[in-house]
Each structure stands twice: as structure tokens, then as C-alpha cells.
């Protein structure tokens, strides 16, 4: 029993130490992405595909979460989109990580980025419906109509 306690405490300490090495804000950023993907796909370890993200960012997301990288877009349960300068057809649930990508992605389910100095998450009702995504009630605060938001941001 004592050994178990020691092991558990050590594990807590080690995980805490890892957390200290990495910027806490990055940890929360990844937690948000991970939670969103899991709640949308309803899978414990979903496959995600990254379009336009830097390799360094991808490895941080994979390191700090239980998400798995899909080998190609067809194998993915979810797509993250960034730095897109031309049209992107989202035929799978896709989240834009900046506003310029959102402008080029008509069927993105939403955007997670920064605006006016604050992090912002907006999910579009119309596109959630398109992919038949039903999210828990806690997301209601973030769900809006795309008709109001898109284009201007």
C-alpha cells in the first residue's frame, strides 16, 4: 500500500514538474482543443489532421493531449485549419484556428483564436447541424449563428 502511495505521489510530482516546464497557457490551450474534439467526435482517442499548422505546434498538441495524428485527411475524425489563404472545403468537422482561414472555409464548425486581446471560441449552429453534431449544454454560451459572425471577423 505504501509503495502504491509513493508511486502515485511520485507520478503526481513528475506530472506537476512537466507542467511547470511548459507554459501553463499552452497547457490550457491544448486542453480546450482536446475537450472540444472529444465532445464532438464522442471518441476517447480521436484522430486529428492538421492543415497549415507549424510542425512545432502540432507536436506540442500531440504531446500534451491524447489526440492522435491521422496519416491523411480521410482517416481523420477532426481537422484543424490554420493559415489558409484559399478555399477549403470542409467535408469533415473542421475548426479554424485563425480568422483568415475561417473566411476561406464555408463549412468550418467554428473558430478558436484571439480577438481584442482575449481568446475566443465561436461555434456555428448551422455547420454543427450540417455534421449532425450535438454538443453538451455547457457549449451553449459559445454557439452562435454563422450568418452574424462570418466575413466581418
Amino acid at each position: 500500500m505504501r509503495r502504491l502511495l509513493v508511486i502515485l505521489l511520485t507520478l503526481v510530482y513528475v506530472l506537476g514538474a512537466i507542467g511547470q516546464e511548459i507554459d501553463k497557457s499552452v497547457i490550457y490551450e491544448v486542453k480546450i482543443l482536446e475537450k472540444l474534439v472529444k465532445d464532438i467526435t464522442k471518441k476517447k482517442r480521436p484522430y486529428v489532421y492538421f492543415v497549415g499548422l507549424k510542425r512545432q505546434k502540432v507536436s506540442v498538441i500531440l504531446k500534451l493531449s491524447t489526440l492522435r495524428q491521422a496519416v491523411n485527411i480521410d482517416k481523420a475524425d477532426f481537422i484543424f485549419l490554420k493559415n489558409r489563404k484559399r478555399k477549403f472545403y470542409a467535408y469533415k468537422p473542421t475548426l479554424a484556428l485563425d480568422f483568415s482561414s475561417l473566411r476561406h472555409c464555408k463549412y468550418c464548425i467554428g473558430v478558436f483564436s484571439w480577438k481584442n486581446g482575449r481568446p475566443i471560441l465561436i461555434l456555428f449552429q448551422e455547420n454543427l447541424n450540417k455534421f449532425r453534431i450535438v454538443l453538451p449544454k455547457e457549449y451553449d454560451y459559445f454557439i452562435e449563428s454563422r450568418m452574424i459572425n462570418v466575413g466581418k471577423r
Binding site: L5, W114, R118, Y141
Partner: protein, 636 residues
Amino acid sequence: MGKYFSTLIVVISLFFSITYGEETILSLMKKYEEESVLFKKTKEESLGHVIIFTRKDIENMQAYTLADILRLVPISNFLPNKYGVETLANPGRPLTVPFIYRLYIDDHEVSSIHTYSPFLTYDRYPLDHINHIEIYFSAGAISVSNEPSQMIIKMYTKLPSRENTTKIRGTLDSKKSYTLSFFNAKRLNDSSCILVSFSKSYFKFPEISINNQTLHRNQFRKNLFLKYRYLDTTVEFSAVDVKRGGFTGNSADKSPDFSNIYSLDSYLSVKQDFNDNTKIVFSYDYQKRKYKERNKSSEGGIFIPNIYNFFNPPVYYYEDLNFHKFAFALDKKIKKGKNALLLGAFLRYYIQDVAKNEYANSLGLYDLKTAFRVKNFYIGSFYVENSYNIDEKKLVIAGLKYDKFKFYGQKSKDRVNVRIGFIAFANHSIMLKSFLSHYYVLPSMLLIESSKDKKLDSMESTVFSSEVKYIFGNNEIRFFYSYYNVQDIISFDKNSGYYVNTNKSGNFHEYGFFFKRKINQVTSFELNYWITDVGKDRYSPERGGYVRFAQEFGKLNIYSDVLYKGSYKPYGKKINETFNLRISVGYKLPSDFYLKITGENLLNNSEKIIYRDIFGNNYIYSSNYRKIILTVEKVF
């Protein structure tokens, strides 16, 4: 066994709450925002005792200019000097052109090349592009790329990648001051981002009537700030142009017939960050000053050191000066185990060039272009600061800075500044932070030009400061104490009419008390009271404080503060205590429009100061109007 089992359950729940704890998306977003705040990345504990005005504070306070923040700086007074420039001053000290404050925009120091005072150009600097402000009580701080000082004010600009907005603001007040501002900042792609901010303002201040003349210190200003970042390289350009009334100026009767000041500050800086905690900054500053004053000889003329003659005083004075500053700074942090070593160096070269300088008395016009000026000045500095963690709760900081400098017309000199600090956490709720510094404050170019032998020695200062912070629940109590000993004080000698090293020493003690309570996520309260032992018979208040309160109700936010300054007795004349009440209300309208209203000096009892002419007459001046400020903001 039962005991072990319950312990195991507790530990397992703790483990899961840390690693896999289910949090709602809303709470994660809030934590992400809290952890991302910029001041957590920019704050430097080793610089000294810090007070931070966060972005939220600045927004809630509806603080649109630097003056709206500086008025609240504890253990200081913020009042207009004889030129009408709102200036920080130590308690009890006269309102002069101070040389002990340094102002930064990001990593660039913008204090005046000529006087070291930043306030002539930056007193009403707009905050549209400023994210947060850090105020360091940093007497003798080592790890800075500027000449030794008492206080450092750091304004950090917004991160364009976090903005992605365009903002237009219009502000108008009941005394017809106005500001129009434009702000745009956005991320261009993963590697680059840009920020542009431009504003135009007119500020109207209370006038004073002396000798049947109405004197004003109103100012017109234009500000432009640009920032471009590509990977780890940041380029900044700033230009600030201010025209203002010269107020009581240098006229002997404190009532010039005409006085006007023009100042232009501009700079270009390039900063390169490297992955291994190394930073290099190159910069070039250009500053321009024009000053014009007229006063009749029957009213005592204009007091100009070196020239003034009571029987035939100057009646006209004009100067047009250009200043250039080339600066290079490098610092590197090396972290190894319990040790963090900071190595740094900077080199600065200042040039003064006189475009025009003349005066007139009853006999004619005289050219002063050949009069003594500090044509150039350089300072090179090397510093090393080591922070050692004795254990998890105790940190010792020791630093040394070697300055080598040379003023035009003098031999080069060198000085060594030293500082030790100690930061300790008694437990999770009590923190102690103390510093002992020994440093030399250099005179400004202006002071040397206004001295008898055109040379002044640096002022040797020894300062001990300490604070104790106690956090319980949502409350924070902080006690602050500091002791100053300054040798060979530089001050104005009334008999000779020059600045001199007085060979006198000065000692004073400061005490501050702070109480902060975060009542809930949207309500906060803060109280401050400070006192010094300089006595009441001085030139500015020796005690003060404030009460601040902020609350949000959905789209509505309310902020209020009362700024208190104690009574004092300059020149034997009593000035009663003052209470300056400010209330701000902001409301978010549809389509990202914001309507904001602020009432300033609502009790019509703002800070007061006395101006005295050379004939011994005193004039009391109330520094702020009672007024209502209306702001409309649109975010795109």
C-alpha cells in the same frame, strides 16, 4: 486498513483532478485567458517592488492617457511643474524637471535625452495600443539598459496576434478636450504580425491668473506608433508631437506675456530575440525641443541661469534644439539548476545640436548658439545579476553594474552600482521581498548646462526597501517600507542662480499600506495609504492614498476611485487635503459599439500646488477641472 483505503481514495482523486480533471469548456477558457495575460511574461521580480495596471484595469478605469495611471502611483505626487507638464515627484519635493524616472515602451527607453524626464512628451501619452503598465520602485536596479534611476515605468504594447481588430475611438469632454484615435493590429500569418496606432488630441486644463494674465498649459498632440514582428525580430517606430502652452515658464513674476513649448520624440528600434534567452536591441532616437518665452522687463523679465541680470533682464528667449541617441543593448539569461545568471551590456551615445538659441534684453538681441552646451555624452555599461534559489521558498539576488560615462567637456568617469535582494515565501500566503542598493544617479545634460562650472557630480544613493505580502482567501495585504540616503544632492542654489552639488545629504523614510480584495470574478476593491517623514512644510504633499472599486454587470461596467492627498504647508501657506473622485461607467452596445462616460474631479477638490515668483508672491493652482468625458468606441 480503512485509513489506508481512504488515503488512497484521496490521493487518487487528487491525481485525477490534476491530470484528467473534467473541467467545463467555460472554466477552461477562463483559465486559458488568465494564464495568457502578458504581464506574467514581462514582469521582472528582480527589478524591484512592482505595481501592475493590467489591461482589465486600464479598460475598467477608462484610462486613455498615461496621466490617468500615473496620478495613482503610490508614494509619489503627480502635479504640473512650472512649464505645465504633469510630472511625478517624490513626496515633499518641488515640481521640477525630474531626472530620476525612466519610461519605457516595450524594450525601448523614451525618457528625454536632454533632461531624463519623460513627462514633457509622454504625460498624456495615449494608451490605445498599450496592453499593460508595470511600475517598478526600482532604486538602483541592475538589470536595465538605462542610467541608474529611482523608478521605472514600463508600458507594454498589445500583441498584434492577440488583437485581430480595428478600433476607432472618439472622446470629448465638457471642457472641449477631444481625442480621435485609430488602432489596428492583426496577425498576418504564423510568422508575422503588425500593429498601427494613430491619434490626435487636444487637452484643455484649468488656467491660472497671475498679474492680470491668464496662463494656460493646454496641449495639442499627435501620436503614431507602428510595430511589425517577423518571427523573433520586432521593429518599432514611434513619433509623438506635442505643442503646449508654457504656463508660468521662466518668467520672474510667473506670468509670461507669451510662452510655448514644442516637443517631438521619435525612435526606430529593432529587437532580436534568440532561442537561448538572448536579446539584442538597436535603436535610434531623434528628439526636438523648441521653447519660446516673452516677458516685460518691468515684470522681472525671464529668469535664465548664467544670463539673468535683475537690472536688465532678458525679455525674450528662444531655443530650438535637436537631440540624437544611438543605443545598443544586449542581455543573456543563463539558467542552470538553482541558479539564474543575467549578463548584460549597453552602449549609448547622445548628441545635442543647437539649431537656434537667442535672447533679447532692452539693449538688443543676442545669439546664444555658441554658449556652453553638452554637445555629446556617452555611457557604456556592463552588468551581471545572479539569482540563486536557496530552496523552493527562498531566492537571493546579487547584482553589480559598472558604468563608464563621459560628458562633453569633462573627463570620463566610472561608477560601480551594487544591489542585493532577498525574496522568501514563509508559506503559501506570506511573501517577503527586500532590496539594498548602492548606486549613482547621473545629472542630466540640462542640469550640467545650468550649473556654475558646467560640471556636476553624480548623486550617491543608498536605498533599502522591503515589502511583506499576505494573501488570505481573496484578500491581499501588503506593507511597504523604504529608506533613502542621498549624498551630495544636486539642487538649485537661489543665491548663485545655478544648480550645484550641495555637499548635503538627505534621508527619508516611506511607508505604504495596500489592501486588495477580489470580492468575486467581477468585483474588486483596493485601498492604499502612504506616508513619509519629510514633513508638511515642503513643496508637495507628504502623504496620500486611494480607494478603488470596480464591478461588472454583464455588458455594463462601473469603476470608481477617490484619490487622497494630505494637507501640506509650502512657503508657510497651508493647502488643505484634497479628494479627487472619479467615476466611470461603460456599456457595450450592439454591433461592437461601446459607450463610456467618466466623471472626473466630481467633488471639485483636486490636487493643488503653489507657484511662487521671485518677488515672494504665492499662487495656488488646482490642477484638474471638474468635467464629464464621453467616449464612443467601435470595434471591427
